[in-house]
């Protein structure tokens, strides 16, 4: 009986092998088409950024630049060759760095300690507290923009990087707590219980036992927060303008304003510069990045 079944399986597998070669060609062909689909805009951005404006008007989207010219990149970065009044990215890039670092560190730390308190020191009603955080990850920010603008004004930090740090920490906590809570829930309580019997307190257990084993989730959380804060436009555009704007707002201004003549090469160079930090993180830590994405949206 067992033999018959294996024989049948073997025959089936041999059959399918022949069919497979054709299938696999089709398969790789379709996968290849999608590679082209996803890479085309990036390719267009890169070649355009190295062209001169006359080249852009003469050639087409996909034609290669005649030589590697970094003029557009220099213009996009620090305004080299500008007539004045135009936006360039350098100061805003640093604004975003000054914004991202504290916002990510504070929200991640708070998230880790919240997640730990919610899972390893359970108390009555803790699941309702968690629900408050969870629902907070879904709210459309339009529902909080107006009171936030007023609150920042009252606190005297509207149109400042500190104000944006506050905003990103406040709304980031929901995500960081969610990530860390879901991670700690899957970790056995044994070690914590043993440490508690030995008389270790809340913070001692957190720093000595929990934090050392939290590296994976901390990396996921940091990457998620970094991407969120770096890529944010809504908060940046609403709560800051002029000199304290973050990079996404600056990029949008650069593309929209600029001189009378459109400079598509500068636009593309600026878009690439804006995208580089998150792309680097994605390439270096892709798996953590994907984990964050799925954890951030498929809750639970």
């Amino acid at each position: 009986m067992q033999d018959k079944e294996t024989l049948k399986l073997n025959k089936l597998e041999a059959d399918s092998k022949r069919k497979n070669t054709i299938y696999r060609w089709i398969l790789y062909f379709i996968l290849g088409i999608f590679v082209i689909y996803y890479l085309t805009p990036l390719y267009v951005m890169i070649v355009t950024s190295f062209k001169t404006m006359p080249e852009i008007r003469q050639g087409n989207l996909f034609s290669l630049p005649s030589s590697l010219k970094f003029d557009a990149w220099k213009q996009a970065w620090d305004g080299t060759g500008y007539t004045g009044g135009d936006v360039f990215l350098k100061p805003y890039f640093w604004n975003s760095i000054k914004l991202v670092v504290p916002a990510v560190v504070i929200s991640t730390l708070l998230g880790a300690i919240n997640g730990y308190a919610l899972t390893k020191w359970r108390f009555k009603g803790d699941s309702y507290v968690f629900l408050l955080f969870l629902f907070g990850t879904f709210i459309p920010y339009q529902a909080i923009l107006l009171p936030m603008a007023r609150t920042l004004g009252v606190l005297g930090i509207s149109n400042s990087i500190n104000g944006l740090i506050l905003v990103h920490v406040v709304y980031g906590i929901c995500f960081t707590t969610l990530f860390c809570r879901n991670y700690y829930v899957s970790i056995s309580d044994e070690m914590v219980r043993a440490a508690r019997i030995d008389g270790a307190g809340f913070f001692k257990i957190f720093f000595k036992i929990i934090l050392p084993i939290s590296i994976p989730i901390i990396v996921v959380t940091v990457i998620w927060q970094f991407t969120q804060v770096w890529n944010d436009f809504l908060f940046g555009a609403t709560f800051s303008f002029g000199e304290s704007a973050p990079i996404q707002v600056a990029l949008n201004n650069l593309v929209l304003t600029g001189t009378a003549v459109k400079r598509y090469n500068v636009d593309m160079a600026a878009a690439i510069i804006t995208g580089i930090p998150t792309l680097i993180v994605y390439i270096l830590a892709g798996n953590y990045f994907i984990k964050g994405l799925t954890a951030g949206s498929v809750k639970g």
Binding site: I30, W121, F123, L134, T238, Q248, S297
Partner: protein
Amino acid sequence: MFWLKKNLPKLVLTPSLGILSWFVYGFIFWTIYISFTKSKMLPRYELWGIEQYIRLWKMPRWHVAVENLLIFTVLFIILCIAIGILLSILLDQKIRAEGFLRTIYLYPMALSFIVTGTAWKWVLNPTLGIEKFAHDMGFETFKFDWLVTPEMSIYTIVIAGVWQSSGFIMAIFLAGLRSVDDEIIKAAKIDGAGIFSIYSKIILPMMRPVFMSAIVILVHLSIKSYDLIIALTSGGPGISSDMPAVFMTTMAFHRSEVGLASASAIMMFLTVSAIVVPYLYSELKREDAR
């Protein structure tokens, strides 16, 4: 001292809970309240009934925004899920260089909507973009000017949105496929089922929770979509590609219509809640059952 020790976990959570109840739930209630007032440039606190909601639903511009949201959401969901399923099934066939392909399919997700919008605005440029390329290839009459055509501008946002998010849906479905037991597929093969019917009749129906998550994520993304529209069309030409999120910020910060803007924000909030609350409820029930 004993009290402190016993309540330390709650004390640690207190600052975050304070922040949450003020900046999230308090703010939402404030916005709800303001949506029932006559607030114009500054908030006013005398109640005005549901007048703002009546004004909102009488505004042609709001109807444009809601219609666009519907068009965008439906197409965005269908296309992202179709591409996501196709790519995840193909990648699940023990493909060489799977990791490499996955990296390429997913990288747009690392970019901001502003970067994506800027890139696609150039690709779709009516004179120098794809249209020029087609002309150079010899298709002299080819026309592609959706960006500046009011009836078509919303579809350019669909194109860019699908490009950015479909790889992510692929990743979710791939994770779902990987959690399906291999034995089931083997058994079906022995019974003589073809690869197509195995997926369409056995595996995909098993992935109902994945479909649910994907749809909730995509609806949520489309209701919140703001950056992409600003970067790609700025809601134009005219107001032809307006969406609720853009409507809200315009009314709030450029038109001094704080009450009306709040009413539109609350409409968005209610829509998201109507989708998310049942979803969270079923997810939490599933978790309890485990």
